[in-house]
């Protein structure tokens, strides 16, 4: 995948962090296994994940498993380690083809990710595999800069994204901090019963 189709990154701006480059899930060298996804009120979802060594075999396996689990889950655009019961700051995102996505970086996994810049806050509806029966209105930054490390190489990454992918990243980073979208809903009438999952 070319740098251009993977969205803008900050490498051109002379940052020490680069974009995803030509990273693909194949770089992990593992097929990944599907793990069971836990639902709230599971305690793993409410605990902040620990920082990980992105180069460890354990992290690489977790990254591959998150991708495998995300891919077999209909409508899933992101999955964080706490959702498979692991208290680690690792998550996978894949918004390619989503009708609301603008900038798209393909399938990727980030370790120890944090939000560097968040601007242009907008409300939007979110769901979560770990809260299967509810959705909620949450305000998120629609312009986002995130820094993290790639699993395997441990290469530092700085992603600049927007819209739906930015929302997905914030949702997953929240998971790694022990937060659900329910912790950020806009008001008493901003939680809805989900009618269909997708």
């Amino acid at each position: 995948m070319s740098g251009e189709t993977r969205g803008p990154d900050a490498a051109s701006a002379g940052e020490e962090y680069a974009g995803l480059g030509d990273w693909t899930p194949e770089a992990l060298g593992l097929p990944g296994e599907v793990r069971p996804v836990v639902s709230a009120p599971h305690p793993a979802l409410s605990r902040a994940g620990a920082a990980v060594d992105p180069t460890s075999a354990e992290t690489v396996r977790l990254a591959a498993d998150l991708i495998a689990t995300m891919r077999v889950s209909p409508g899933c655009v992101g999955l964080a380690a706490p959702q498979v019961g692991v208290g680690a700051q690792v998550f996978a995102v894949e918004v390619t083809g989503h009708p609301k996505a603008v900038t798209v970086h393909g399938t990727f996994v980030l370790c120890n990710a944090r939000v560097v810049e968040a601007t242009r806050w907008k409300a939007g509806r979110e769901g979560c595999m770990s809260v299967p029966d509810l959705t909620g209105d949450v305000k998120r930054a629609s312009r986002l800069v995130v820094a993290g490390k790639l699993p395997g190489t441990g290469a530092p990454v700085r992603l600049v994204t927007d819209g739906f992918e930015a929302r997905a990243l914030q949702h997953e980073i929240d998971h790694c901090s022990g937060l659900l979208f329910l912790d950020r809903v806009a008001g008493a009438h901003a939680v809805y019963q989900r009618k269909v999952y997708l």
Binding site: S39, A40, P41, S46, A123, V131, P132, D133, L134, K139, L179, L180, L182, D183, R184, V185, A186, G187, A188, H189, A190, V191, Q193
Partner: protein, 170 residues
């Protein structure tokens, strides 16, 4: 004119809102603030209107409840709504395993700092219980309340967050 508080609760079916509103319109009662929702499938409507005496409205609504599926109550209230509290608006979200007393315990903590619940909804989804409350807090009490809510939530084994309500207006 009288200000009346009316509740209509019972088995849902198409046409309840229209039936109630028609009765009120016929009596010249002016619907002001109202809210209606379904709570676990049950019809639930609460409204304030300005109109004739409570007894007259209650009698007019009685046929709606004649089959025993709906309960309608009418009560005269003092017109004092709309007074601003001057508080700071916050949103409290609570979620965790369903158990007895979550709403009671958490709203009591809010009351403890002089806070007022202005809107509230709860949902039970499987074993997950979710409470979202909009609260007005006396200025400067939010940090104290957040600490107290954390302790109460820990006792209950649930999660709580307290955030300023979004002030953005379109």
């Amino acid at each position: 004119m009288n200000e009346l508080a009316i509740t209509v609760i019972g088995r849902d079916r198409p046409g309840i809102v229209a039936d109630v509103a028609e009765v009120l319109a016929r009596l010249g009662a002016n619907l002001t603030d109202s809210t209606m929702t379904r709570l676990r499938g049950h019809f639930a409507m609460t409204l304030i209107c300005v109109g004739p005496a409570a007894a007259e409205v209650e009698a007019a609504l009685a046929p709606l409840a004649a089959d025993g599926q709906l309960l309608a109550t009418v009560r005269a209230v003092t017109p004092d709504g709309g007074a601003a509290t001057g508080g700071e608006p916050y949103v409290m979200a609570v979620h965790g395993a369903d158990r007895m007393g979550i709403v009671a315990a958490m709203t009591r903590v809010v009351t403890g700092v002089g806070g007022n619940v202005t809107d509230l909804s709860t949902r039970l989804a499987g074993s997950l219980y979710v409470v979202v409350a909009e609260v007005d807090l006396p200025p400067g009490t939010a940090d104290e309340l957040a600490g107290r809510l954390d302790r109460a939530a820990a006792d209950l084994g649930v999660e709580v967050s307290l955030r300023p309500a979004d002030p953005d207006l379109l």
